[in-house]
């Protein structure tokens, strides 16, 4: 079953067209990695999926239902978690409360049950010892893993990752990637915007290359990385893989 079906999606900021005629689907259990040069529209595309950005044109079907109202969007977001480049943890809450809060507020889950779920998730991301700490005292890598646990606490069917490792010190990147790999292995549907080509090659079921607001090329990671068909994909990969 397709989780997302996107038809003729366009997004402009004023006169600036960021996305032009995007068509794609994401299937259940699939890990889609979106790569491309900065300014190619890949983050905007991801943010259109959970309607943090309102598309200028086009249709978004989530689980075969057209999303066309604020209520639809809100319901979709409860089922599609997002992890941000800058973590965006709630600074006034402890790590534990960050993870427990949305299920209690939005799903009316009891405090006891929410805490149980939250503690399990903190174990899963290796941060059970930090439950009572505040986000500001954690490293970037730890904060990002809390952010992943926070998104998972809503028990989403899918996760969106918007450059989850771009704001991290190099030695912290791997801890976050390991958590993401485990999620992928466990069958989570994921859409990941990243510059981590290693992750794309190892974990993705499908790699999408975007440039200047268009999807230029998509395919299995082996095909995209070994013999990219489009010239722009070739140039981009040469540049990032050389470094």
């Amino acid at each position: 079953m397709s989780v997302f079906t996107i038809k003729n999606l366009e997004k402009s900021f004023g006169d600036h067209e960021v996305l032009k005629d995007i068509n794609m689907t994401i299937d259940e259990g699939e890990v889609v990695v979106i790569i491309g040069p900065s300014g190619s529209g890949k983050s905007t595309f991801l943010r259109c999926l959970n309607l943090l950005e309102t598309p200028t044109k086009g249709e978004i079907y989530y689980k075969e239902t057209l999303i066309n109202s604020k209520t639809d969007a809100r319901r979709l977001r409860q089922d599609v978690g997002m992890v941000f480049q800058r973590f965006n943890l709630f600074p006034m809450f402890t790590v534990l409360k960050n993870v427990m809060y949305a299920p209690m507020e939005i799903k009316n889950i009891s405090k006891k049950k929410a805490e149980e779920i939250a503690r399990d998730l903190l174990v899963k991301v290796g941060l059970e010892d930090f439950a009572d700490d505040y986000p500001a005292t954690l490293s970037g890598g730890q904060q990002q893993r809390v952010a992943i646990a926070r998104a998972l606490a809503m028990q989403p069917s899918m996760l969106l990752f918007d450059e989850p490792t771009s704001a991290l010190d190099p030695e912290l990147v791997n801890d976050v990637l390991v958590v993401m790999k485990n999620l992928a292995k466990a069958g989570m549907t994921m859409a990941v915007v990243t510059h981590e080509m290693g992750f794309a090659r190892d974990v993705a079921d499908r790699v999408i290359f975007m440039d200047k607001g268009y999807i230029i090329e998509e395919g299995k990671p082996a095909d995209i990385f070994s013999h990219p068909k489009n010239e722009r994909t070739q140039i981009f990969l040469q540049r990032v893989l050389a470094s």
Partner: protein
Amino acid sequence: MDVVLNIAAKYGDIFIMGTKITIITSAVATVFGLLLGILLALFRMNLFNFKPLYWLTIIYVEIIRGTPLLVQIALAFFGLPLLGIHFPSVEFMGVEFDRMFAGIFALTINMSAYACEIIRSGIQSIDPGQMEAAKSLGFSTWRAMRKIVLPQALKNLLPVLGNEFIVMVKASSQVSVIGLADLMFSATTVQGISFQPFPPLVIVAVIYLIITVIISSLIRLMENNLSKSNGR
């Protein structure tokens, strides 16, 4: 010095009464002014996607900030009855309720206009990522504002809002012009009955100072209590 103490002892009841009225008036006006200010700030940011409210708020803030508080107090007292809004002139804690209401009303309105701009800047200083993170978890804009963004903004604004409270305590002295028996009014009263122009003023100045020092200490205490999430 002796004269001051004598006057303070002799007319103590009047000063205590005035102090009560000043505290009640300014505290109530600050609380309601803040609440109204929060609402106005949300209108001003067009959170509810309703442009007329946005424009009305801008006009409201300009008018209130652009006219003297003294005029606003007089307008509330003499103007509200002309508009057909009457309040029962019952005794409440030894003051007439209609004067009290007019005073609190004017101070609240005045406070709300300043609070609107302060709170708006506080909200806008919070990383937009906070709103996005809350939304991405399924919060509505309004709920995310109420539960996630606003608490952080108010925490950051605590020193400024404490300052506004202090300004309010002092500004509330102007309600004495409509005969509300606040602290300033008690000074005038005692001046009249004791034929001593100077000592009552010293006494109320000291009382104002004590009130404002207590407020700033409380605010500092609250700040320290709330700082545990600041990290490092």
